[in-house]
């Protein structure tokens, strides 16, 4: 057994040396050898790694038969079990870029191994895989091969050996959108004063945090008849059964919980309390309904003002929880609520 790390490589029909546009319809195939750029790539790995085979697929075939192509490719990758997957570089070739991107994303998602490719910044495939793959920035044409392969090989070696990856500028990849925490020479307040002086003098300055762009969600249509509606209770105020059985974090939540409240009239203490670390918990712990008002909802149900309270209530901690996690929780909880036939949700925050 070789102690070299194993790379599986993907190219299109052109770089796979099968042919040009006239061969763009060929079906995917796998060869246990290095083909096209994989040869030059391997030579840059300094004998630390080896390319164990090359997948080749026609650009048109891939784009017209995505599912079949992906399924073939994934089967090969699962069987060959490489340590790392490399595709392209695709430069500014659109269909090739999309194929590289789709495969890179699928490999990263399903196999959890590092993936590397190369693209021109305007390649339409970029957005599909920039978060999942390290995409080395290339020129817009194959003339940039000589420059792209060493960067792709260098980052591949680092990823395969688990070494720390440098900045996008140092490594030559297109920023993935990751906010990486670093220790720098100057303290924050000094950087702020320096930024201020530049701004006051009309000199160029660079913000350290470009503002996020938010998705706008269309509100659902109004409920016409509340007396027939099922209403669910959901909170980011961290109300959980005593003992916090699912270990929901006190800040920066990584999960949510759901608890059957069909047999309860209220979220009484001490059966429930808050695990939320971001507000004064004293009053919430006295009467948890202050944060998640199951008591009032149940009264409404008895009065017939609403049809029914959903059997489960949903909860997590909002403080310090990333927007990405919040979106994930919301999507998962929303799906459950929809399947349970819930018409409306009382969502409380703190």
């Amino acid at each position: 057994m070789s102690d070299k790390f194993k790379v599986l490589y993907y190219v299109n029909q052109f770089f796979g040396q099968i042919g040009g546009e006239d061969k763009a319809g060929i079906e995917p195939e796998f060869r246990k050898e290095k083909v096209g750029p994989a040869i030059g790539f391997e030579s840059k790995l300094k004998s630390e790694g080896e390319v164990i085979g090359t997948l080749i697929c026609g650009d048109n075939y891939f784009n017209e038969h995505k599912e079949e192509s992906l399924s073939f490719v994934m089967d090969v990758i699962k069987k060959e079990a490489p340590d790392i997957f490399v595709a392209g570089p695709a430069f500014n070739a659109g269909r090739y870029g999309v194929a590289c991107a789709e495969i890179c994303k699928a490999v990263a998602d399903e196999m959890g191994i590092p993936v590397v490719t190369g693209m021109y910044i305007e390649n339409p495939g970029l957005d599909t895989c920039r978060k999942e793959a390290y995409v080395i920035e290339t020129s817009d044409s194959a003339g940039g091969m000589r420059k792209a392969l060493p960067s792709m090989a260098k980052i591949t070696c680092k990823l395969a050996k688990g070494l720390e990856i440098g900045s996008p500028e140092e490594e030559g990849f297109i920023a993935r959108g990751m906010r990486k925490s670093l220790i720098v020479e100057k303290r924050g307040s000094l950087r702020a004063v320096e930024m201020l002086l530049k701004r006051l003098k009309g000199e160029e300055f660079e913000t350290e945090m470009p503002m996020p762009v938010f998705n706008i969600v269309e509100p659902a249509a109004a409920i016409k008849d509340l007396s027939k509606a099922t209403i669910a209770l959901c909170t980011s105020g961290g109300i959980v059964p005593a003992g916090n059985p699912d270990h929901i974090q006190s800040a920066s939540a990584q999960k949510w919980g759901k608890y059957d409240v069909s047999g309860r009239d209220a979220l009484n203490a001490p059966d429930f309390y808050t695990t939320h670390g971001g507000y004064d918990p004293v009053y919430a712990n006295e009467i948890p309904d202050r944060v998640a008002p199951l008591d009032i909802l149940k009264e409404f149900e008895k009065e017939g003002y609403i049809g029914k309270v959903n059997n489960y209530f949903y909860t997590t901690t909002g403080t310090g929880t990333s927007v990405a996690n919040a979106v994930k929780f919301g999507t998962e909880i929303g799906k459950e609520l929809k399947e349970a036939g819930v018409d409306g949700v009382i969502l409380t925050s703190t």
Binding site: R179, S189, R191, A192, L200, M211, Y279, V323
Partner: protein, 428 residues
């Protein structure tokens, strides 16, 4: 207003039978300090210990950090309005045991605490790994409600700092810093061509373990107030909050507010630093509107050209920060904001709970969810298991061999939004 800070460089702390500084070694009368703190009959017992830079010591859960000081000229000793009678801060001479810190330790209500590692990977992420720390672990008698408990611990920390600070009374300082800024009219006459700059310091004012006090007044109850920068440098502002550990402004950080110090350094050179606006962070929308309007009103009234705005905490205060920013920029006042980020453990999430196109100049002090792994400590002051429940920790974060993981959230001062530490985020 003129303030002299006499820094006595502290190179070690020892426990002993008298409180003194000799050749940079601070000796603390352990039993005298315990007796002093136990004058508060609600305190059952006090444990004193020392943690030095480089020692394999972990302090957890940390409540507050306070710099020991003594007032030797002008004003009153201690923390006026809290441990002393009301008095003007910011004038005269204050002697500082520079390099020493009082660190309060002890459970209050469970979740809001922090960690300080004095060595290794953990030490890199907290400024308080560089100070000689006198830890004060406070236990209260039974039957104390959480709000009173918090107050007892908070005041005990301040009293300890005051007690120890006495050691600097008759010592010749190694360095004397002078902070002097006159009235806005005098300074503007002196520097007619320099841009007028204010510092808006946002403070968490949201209930138990989430409060800030100015001259002993809970800042929940105030409209934004103008302070002379010297007042904060001279112990007028104290912390009553512990969440999250990474970006709370400890009392020590108020006493040594780095934004004030760095703006002061440019006063009369590049800017005319006119003062601080202390802006409370409310939980209600009405409160946020009122405070942002009032802050910008004060900036306009003082004719500010620019404002540096620092946040405390994250989540809903992101909105306060951006409201102040938007309203300033619309009024023609340039802003620079300092905030940290909640970008998730993988750093792939958008970092703020709100957004504004006007926020073009922002300093990032790091991702609060950045996970660090630290090696086992040889000695733990406090309770190592606390990591399971504190903000930034989780159940299982402490391995059997003592290795533990946590988010920066749990590390005191790591992502300080007054830019007290050296962490930032870059796009990768």
């Amino acid at each position: 207003m003129k303030l002299e800070i006499g820094r006595i460089f502290i190179k070690d702390i020892q426990l002993g039978s008298e409180t003194s500084v000799k050749s940079g070694v601070l000796t603390v009368d352990e039993s005298g300090l315990i007796a002093k703190l136990k004058e508060d009959e609600r305190i059952k017992d006090v444990k004193i210990d020392v943690a030095r830079p480089g020692e394999k010591v972990r302090i957890i859960p940390v409540k507050d950090v306070i710099e020991p000081r003594v007032k030797i000229e002008g004003g009153l000793n201690g923390f006026p309005g809290v441990t002393a009678k009301p008095a003007q801060c910011g004038e005269g001479r204050t002697q500082v045991l520079y390099g020493a810190a009082v660190v309060t330790v002890g459970d209050i209500v469970g979740f809001q605490e922090g960690v300080i590692d004095m060595w290794g990977e953990g030490a890199k992420w907290t400024p308080f790994s560089q100070t000689y720390n006198l830890t004060v672990d406070i236990n209260v008698i039974d039957g104390i409600d959480p709000h009173t408990h918090e107050e007892i611990v908070r005041i005990a920390g301040l009293r300890a700092a005051e007690f120890i600070g006495q050691a600097g009374k008759d010592v010749t300082p190694d360095e004397v810093l002078t902070f002097e800024i006159g009235s806005v009219f005098e300074e503007t006459a002196k520097y007619p061509n320099l841009p007028k700059v204010l510092y808006a310091e946002m403070m968490i004012t949201q209930g138990l373990l989430h409060d800030t006090y100015i001259y002993g007044v809970n800042a929940q109850t105030i409209l934004p107030a103008v302070l002379h920068p010297n007042e904060e440098l001279d112990s007028a502002v104290i912390s009553g909050n512990c969440v999250a550990a990474c970006d709370k402004i400890t009392t020590y950080q108020h006493q040594n507010n780095s934004v004030i110090l760095d703006l002061y350094a440019e006063h009369g050179k590049e800017i005319n630093f006119m003062g601080c606006i202390m802006a409370p962070e409310h939980t209600t929308l009405a409160g946020k509107f009122r405070v942002s309007d009032y802050t910008v009103k004060l900036a306009k009234l003082l004719g500010a050209d620019a404002v540096v705005v620092s946040e405390e905490g994250y989540g809903n205060p992101d909105s306060d920060l951006l409201m102040i920013c938007k309203k300033c920029e619309k009024a023609g006042i340039k802003t620079v904001l300092i905030t940290d980020e909640c970008a998730g453990r993988d750093g792939m999430s958008q970092p703020l709970a709100d957004t504004a196109v006007e926020a073009v100049a922002v300093v990032s002090t790091g991702n609060v969810s950045h996970v660090i792994t630290v090696e086992p400590a040889e000695k733990v002051i406090g309770k190592a298991e606390s990591i399971a429940v504190l903000a930034g920790g989780w159940d299982g974060a402490l391995a059997e061999d003592g290795t533990f993981q946590c988010e920066l959230n749990a590390v005191i001062g790591s992502t300080s939004e007054i830019g007290f530490h050296n962490v930032t985020c870059r796009l990768y």
